[in-house]
């Protein structure tokens, strides 16, 4: 277990470093950052002062070291568009992204899990078919298009829900459904196949033989074991939900980190963009790491693989 843990954590750290190297290299490849960071009519002194602060007179490894040190302290530099620390700009947006991810996770679990159970218990029934269609759409239709179609029907035509923005409770419904759709699909498939496996196992046969009712077999005996992969998946999805939110936030003008990242890409607001990407990467990797640890804890077979 310990060896596995150490290895997993090491890989996570290397990945974070790899991403930071890529970002650093790209920042330098884009040209002298001073032209971007300073106003057009900056004086020679300002130019030199910033050069010193960024360490542009030093070697590349040394510059990277400065970059890394600042990053660990949460200093990504000042936003070029807003003229204030990038970390502040990012901080204002983070809550909206978490809200959206949480809402998507809740609805996809609430729909995906029961649908998965029903379609496993009653194979080839109406539930199974509906589930298959939802899963197929979720895995095939691009989320940005699903979002736009939902806006078209529920906001433009029916006028039930607001098309974009983040005002009241109603405005989170459409983006959460869009973001969660893919997870409903995966959740459902996971639960279905886990449930089918479990229902076929020896201990369920034993339960049947001793006369347990169908209801108690499904809900008491089988579900507990079938839920393990789904719970794990919910953990992994936290990370993917965060990256998936980039596209969805753009569609719904949801003022979160994802939209901030895309906007900073348009405006070449480098400090903000690299800040968002680093923070997203950390969230993504931490959730994956936590899930792996949890999984290894629950399922001993993983540890010795």
């Amino acid at each position: 277990m310990q060896r596995y843990l150490v290895r997993r954590i090491l890989i996570t750290i290397i990945t974070v470093l790899a991403v930071s190297v890529i970002i650093f290299a790209l920042a330098r490849a884009a040209g002298d950052p001073r032209y971007l960071l300073l106003p057009v009519r900056a004086t020679e002194e300002q130019f030199d002062a910033l050069g010193k602060k960024l360490g542009l007179d030093k070697s590349y490894p040394h510059q990277y070291w400065i970059f890394l040190k600042d990053m660990v302290q949460g200093d990504f530099g000042d936003s070029i568009v807003d003229r204030r620390p990038a970390i502040d700009v990012i901080g204002e947006r983070i809550q909206a992204t978490f809200e959206l991810a949480a809402a998507a996770l809740v609805w996809s679990t609430m729909v995906g899990v029961p649908l998965g159970i029903l379609s496993a218990v009653r194979r080839d029934s109406i539930f199974d078919r509906v589930g298959k269609v939802i899963a197929l759409i979720g895995q095939s239709a691009p989320p940005f298009w699903i979002g736009i179609m939902l806006i078209f029907f529920f906001a433009v035509r029916l006028e039930w829900l607001p098309p974009t923005g983040r005002e009241d409770f109603k405005s989170i419904i459409l983006p959460a459904i869009t973001l969660g759709w893919w997870f409903v699909a995966v959740n459902m498939r996971l639960i279905r196949s886990a449930m089918l496996d479990v229902l076929d196992s020896e201990y369920i046969k034993l339960a049947r033989a001793k006369g347990a009712s169908q209801r108690s077999i499904v809900w008491k005996h089988a579900l507990k074991n079938a839920l393990i992969p789904a719970l794990t998946f919910a953990g992994i999805s936290l990370g993917s939900l965060v990256t998936g939110s980039v596209v969805v936030e753009l569609v719904f003008a949801w003022p979160g980190l994802g939209r901030l990242a895309v906007q900073s890409m348009y405006t070449s607001d480098y400090p903000v963009l690299q800040g968002v990407v680093i923070i997203f990467t950390l969230m993504y990797l931490t959730s994956a790491l936590l899930v792996d640890i949890l999984y290894a804890y629950i399922d001993p077979r993983i540890r010795y693989a």
Binding site: S140, P142, F144, W145, L250, M265, Y270
Partner: protein, 356 residues
Amino acid sequence: MASGVANGIIVTPEPRGVRVRRMARRLRRLPLIPVSILLVLVVCGITAPWISPEDPVNGDLNDNFLPPAWQGADSIPKTVVEGEVTGYRRLLDVQIGSPEFEEAVAARGLSAEEIQVGDELLVEGDKSGSTRFFFGTDELGRDILSRIFHGARISLIVAAITLGVGGTIGTFAGLVSGYYGGWVDELIMRLVDIVLSIPILLVTLVLVASLGASFELIVGVLSLILWPLFARVTRGEVLQLKNMDYVALARVSGAGSLRIMVFHLLPGVFNTLIVIATLNVGVVILVEASLSFLGAGVPPPTPAWGSMVADGQDHLATAWWISTMPGLAIALTVISLNLFGDWLRDTLDPRLRQLN
């Protein structure tokens, strides 16, 4: 074919009739609708420059916002302005007090006093769909059907090159990793782990911000996403194959490592690779569409499905077809690819079921 010995079990080839009958049975389960959709798509993509009814890049502004062929005239929002409206502004503005203005005000049950210069007013359009532009036109008067054909072309080219590059690198990495084992294996597989855990979509945003969006960039990024998948699967297969007697026999008869990998191991992995490739074409198309939707894809004016969906988002209330049609194209393509891939997997390599 003669009888062979594998792992000490004598293998007798099936009689020809049995094999033919089994092939026929599998072919009968071929998902016809998805396969036909894919065929149409591939043909349209390849022949796009010749079969497209209109120019996909340069449209006539007089033809903008035309609805699909089956739809009648629709109302469009115009800005209320003072003074005479001329030229193409007629499509966007309406003069206050003009007959067109009065008619629109009356039709909406408003009073003329309420409306000021600068307001938006829904004006009955004089445009109804025509068969010339079957799926309608966009903001710049470009034919959506032609753009979908050309978008299919871009998606196909991107998918083909990415699978070629990513697939080759991944397969080779997997062969080397599985064949040599030891530290080489450890190194390649840890690299695979690292690449798989990088949120590539986000890193791509940084790439685009500093290097600019380009075709090469998209292909590079997508290949980077693909190669670890190929490497993992190939390695797994090679680990099983390399202990087979026929590989040992090849080695004894003097075949070098490269020869064994390419001529003895690769053919055994081939079916699996075909399945992995098919199942991932859909992934490539989806990621490419997402990138071009974000403005990080193949740069305009080249028509790409994702950016076409993005173009239509601002005109959803008045011109639903601009976003809907290309989105439908993406969804249909990926659904068909998934269904076809599932069939291929069950036919060529049923063991892969567990992987998915």
